[in-house]
Symmetry: C2
Subunit: 205 residues, 2 copies
Amino acid sequence: MAEQADKRQPVEAGGRGAENRERIVAAADRLFYEKGFQATSFSDIADAAGVPKGNFYYYFKTKDALLEGVIDWRRQCLKKLLSGLNAQYDDPRERLMTLLTGLCAGEDDIVRYGCPMGTLSAELCKTGHEMKEQAQSLLETIREWIATQLQAMGRDDAPEFAREILTRSQGVTLLAHAYGDHHLLVEEMARVRHWVTAVLDGQPH
Amino acid sequence: MAEQADKRQPVEAGGRGAENRERIVAAADRLFYEKGFQATSFSDIADAAGVPKGNFYYYFKTKDALLEGVIDWRRQCLKKLLSGLNAQYDDPRERLMTLLTGLCAGEDDIVRYGCPMGTLSAELCKTGHEMKEQAQSLLETIREWIATQLQAMGRDDAPEFAREILTRSQGVTLLAHAYGDHHLLVEEMARVRHWVTAVLDGQPH
DNA sequence: GTCTATATGGGGATAGAC
DNA sequence: GTCTATCCCCATATAGAC
């Protein structure tokens, strides 16, 4: 189940195969997000990626292996996002607020498809998929990063505070998705930021 | 799509057919909750309900019709719950706090399968199912009830406040489900209640 | 490495005996 | 109203030519 990972070595070697592999992962990533994991068929992915169905069993032996590739891909994107924030700002508070603002960046996507991490976790948990822990670890990664920023601000309630920020953000995206309400997303996320600001400025929470 | 509803007339007539229909709905309700809608097959339901597969096409022409029956069933349960609270308490605040406490009642279920309304909405929205609005209306029903209680307490921010309570509750259940963490559920729900109490007692929010 | 043709299984749904 | 046998389709997955 973890053996597929090493197959990714030739990615940087620059062969056409690497391009194909990445195309498949990128297409699957998008479709798993838009339609969900179960509802996405190989045909869907093949069409989207422009790669014949049969071919990509060469890259991924099973659909689960493909899911693993997609989760790894999302993990890399997330890591890149967070380390980007680390590099861009020195002030941990600025980092955090930028993240919270950025969560609304893909506004339409979130309204239409929900949070990529939250919805995937929910689906995999419900179906009892073996890879649910991997999806959960994406959420945990972001929670830890938030906690790190809070700790850098000298807060001793960093872990719980971070958890609550994540909780509220997930609640907002879930409802915005369920209601298909763009306005709800923007307004409630602003409310979350306002609350974080107030707490950081000394209000008890 | 709505024609199946009138089939429910004979339910109270007390024939064996009515029992069967209810058994099917009850089994489907439970399985849709535990495994999700897509992942639940007719065979699963047939086994659980003790009714042969072929038979229940007599009651539901399609899987979607069955889903509609399940959503109606959940709506009735929800209505019963809320009117029960209305009858049990005169004080709207007591009603609200009882509801918020009760949300943790099925603790283990929530940790394992999430919120019945939230997870169903998420799944139907993601797959673009025609019945997503029906699922959404379950959430809306509960939000309206909360708003009604808040308004009865004389709050002029009732609609937004109710929405935020729902948002936070959904966030808590989503994370508790994703993490499979019983402790998280209890603790964060207590935090939500604490926050509601504080706001009701005059703290700005 | 690439792609076509195909196997296999399980899903929803139907026909029709009882 | 009840239940069995069966159909069809589409999904994942494989075999093997190129």
